[in-house]
């Protein structure tokens, strides 16, 4: 099963997204929140992200969701720091963090491969709100 990592500048957002996504996915779906800096302040922490990715991978890869540009950069750096073998099956989703992670987590929980999880997450960009 593809693992999910949530990288937000905010600890609260990362944890909230995890909770919401877990409600809709199977309870054994791996979703790891990597929000905030190492001190829990607003920001992002490549080391925390690295550890989250390593914990989220069970062999089928990891879909990472990030909120803002600097979280995206921290994910890029984390990918450089992890084992290159693992890095090959880690992908940052080009999707909104809340809507994308929820859709992606449901897809992952169905046992879909990483590509499909990323595609579904991308589709969440166009989720209509009216």
């Amino acid at each position: 099963m593809v693992g999910i990592v949530i990288v937000s500048h905010s600890v609260k957002i990362a944890e909230g997204v995890k909770e919401l996504a877990l409600q809709m996915a199977r309870k054994d779906q791996l979703i790891i929140a990597a929000g905030g800096t190492d001190t829990g302040d607003i920001g992002s922490d490549p080391m925390k992200i690295q550890a989250a990715i390593e914990a989220a991978d069970k062999g089928d890869g990891v879909a990472v969701f990030a909120d803002l540009g600097s979280a995206v950069m921290s994910v890029g750096l984390a990918k450089e720091m992890i084992d290159p073998q693992l890095a090959q099956r880690v992908c940052l989703a080009n999707a909104p963090i809340v809507e994308g992670a929820i859709a992606g987590a449901v897809e992952a929980a169905m046992g879909s491969p990483l590509e499909k999880v990323l595609e579904t997450a991308y589709g969440a960009r166009n989720m209509e709100k009216q």
Binding site: G43, P46, G69, S70, M73, S74, G76, L77
Partner: protein
Amino acid sequence: MTTAKEALRVVGQAVIDKKSYLTDLDQAIGDGDHGINMARGFESVFKKIAVLDDNIDLTTLLKTVGMGLISSVGGAAGPLYGTAFLRASGVCAGKTEIDAVTAKAMLDAAIKGIQDRGKAKKGEKTMLDALIPASEAMDIAIKAGKTEVECLADAVQAAQKGVEYTKTIIATKGRASYLAERSIGHQDPGATSSTVMLEALYNYLE
């Protein structure tokens, strides 16, 4: 005699001293934390290098700086400067003396690292608008046969001009890009911190 460790302390201290200035700049067009981020980063770095030998080689030192910034800055500047220091560290591996050509190669590796990380080009109102002109000025100075310190002086001047230039352009990368045209008139915090570092290095070596 100058040591890498001493130079690094001077550079880091200069950034820490500009903490509130950098934060004010980021308040105007970002989230108001660049000085705080950078000061926290270099304070963490200082703790890490305190345990290193006084004559530690530049490669190990820069690697320590890079990893230290990555793990403590928290904002965009963390992965950006962190990658920059790591890449520069790779270039000077095995060298005991840093001549102007090596210095420029280190700067270029740093720039390349920042671009790999942040996907920005010159003219997007980022730290690159200080660093790329600095590299270009160094190139010209080297070709003109200037000394190492003279080359660095030219680099500093170009970076300062670059900072001025950032006042005239629209941010298209980073948080300031949310302001679009409204970012005009404000200088970029990251370009400023880059210049502060170059200035401090120049003052130390001069």
